[in-house]
Amino acid sequence: MSLLLVIFDLVLLAGIIGVAWRCLASTDLFRAVVLFITFGLLLALAWVRLEAPDIALAEAAIGAGITGALLLVTLERLRSIMAERHSGRPHTPPPDPSGPHALLRALHDPPPERHSFFPALIFALVVGSLLVTALWHQPQSTGLEPVVDAHMDVSGVDHPITAVLLNFRAYDTFLELAIVLIALLGAWSLGRHDLIPARPAPGPILPGTLRLLVPVAIVTGVYVLWAGSHAPGGAFQAGAILGAAGILLVLARPRQLPMAPGIPLRLGITAGVALFLLVGLYGLGAGHGFLGYADAWAYPLIILIEVAATLSIALTLVALFVAGRPAGDDA
């Protein structure tokens, strides 16, 4: 049995490493991105094998899903910019086939030069082998599992990872929400985005699928959020699933999407950090320490924070996909 598992591990790792290698070696960017998404899905499998279903869920939704969507839309944007530059005028149909060189440059990366091969190889080999040496010398420690286990009864939730994320190390999680927000502020500071016009549906399949998928995604998201208190799931996975539903809507858009209103959008993206901080400051004032809860209040407060965080994450991820700030934000 354990031998079979070892074989499984070896095959899986070989697959992961092989896909990553093909991704890094490919000259076609589109191909590299598709391989990267495959890489993310294989990683999710590895996380399941390592008894980390929460991480597998997050990897599939965030690592492969959202990152993949962001990468694909980036390639599409690069292609469109190149087309525009090549034709010299904005808003023209794709350039004629006689001059695709600019497009090729945008979505291709020539194979690397020969002269950097040996230095890079030796550098990577040295770093890798030193890392492996250090890792193979490490003891079989159990980490902090027993400590967390001993405190589960006062954490307010039944799922250890949620307990760590929203209670024991809530400060890290707060800052993580802040980082998502800062990334959006950074992307917004670069400029506005245009109206997102309706897109003619190529057939009945897309709108039908959309009508089916979006409600399913919302239900799944809410379930994953609720499940987080006692089983794998939680705010980040739920936010990513809801965000994916939003991205799907932006992509398919059966009708012109309304420009997001400035003030509600700002409040929406900051709701997660704002509520988290308020609860944290209340804890400081009430004597439970900054970002601390009274034991009896831990569960409702954690749920409250998670709901706000899910909303903010979903909104922020969709906004990051659209990239520019909506014109309403400048009003």
């Binding site: 354990s2 591990d9 992961i16 490493i17 890094l24 070696a25 590299a32 991105v33 890489f39 993310g40 094998r49 390592l50 008894e51 980390a52 991480i55 997050a58 965030i62 990152t67 962001l70 990468l71 839309v73 980036t74 944007r77 690069l78 469109s80 910019i81 525009e84 808003h91 149909p93 794709p94 945008a106 990366d109 890079a120 990577a124 770093v127 890392l131 492996v132 890792l135 490490q138 079989q140 420690s141 159990t142 902090l144 967390v148 990872i161 760590v164 980082i179 998502v180 990334a183 950074g186 992307a187 670069l190 400029g191 506005r192 245009d194 016009p197 897109r199 980040f236 990051l320 400048d330």
Partner: protein, 141 residues
């Protein structure tokens, strides 16, 4: 048969996966040095990050009992940080390509003769111009 069992024991996930993570980390580093297109460099950094997470989760799975929830929580945090940084980096790459026409990191120091745009001056105004025209806008009839 004994030898095989011993081998299986040696290659426990707590050792195998950290090794795989180290390999991914080194590979990402190699890709980062070798490739020039910014999107590929971002992919290389993401692969390095996945290597770090694999080491962390592998380390968490060592030992007898259930895996370490702290390590898993840290990984979750790390994944979210990675996607945020990636999203911002991609937005920068799109903007850079719009301004310069290429998505490659040019070596060397800044150009001393390049014009300076000074946002403190009166004639400067943020035009808030379109930063992200939607990709398929052009193809709408």
């Amino acid at each position: 048969m004994n030898g095989l069992a011993e081998l299986a024991h040696t290659l426990a996930p707590g050792l195998l996966y950290p090794t795989g993570g180290a390999i991914l980390f080194a590979m990402g580093l190699y890709g980062l040095i070798r490739r020039h297109h910014l999107v590929l460099r971002i992919l290389a950094l993401n692969i390095m990050g996945s290597g770090v997470f694999m080491v962390l989760l592998g380390v968490a799975a060592r030992g007898e009992g259930p895996p370490d929830p702290v390590a898993q929580a840290l990984t979750l945090t790390g994944i979210v940080v990675a996607v945020s940084a990636t999203a911002f980096a991609l937005a920068l790459v799109v903007h850079l390509t719009r301004l310069t026409g290429h998505a490659v990191m040019l070596p060397g120091p800044p150009d001393d003769d390049a014009p300076v745009e000074d946002i403190s001056r009166e004639e400067h105004h943020a035009d808030g111009g379109p930063a992200a025209p939607h990709p398929d806008q052009d193809r709408n009839p």
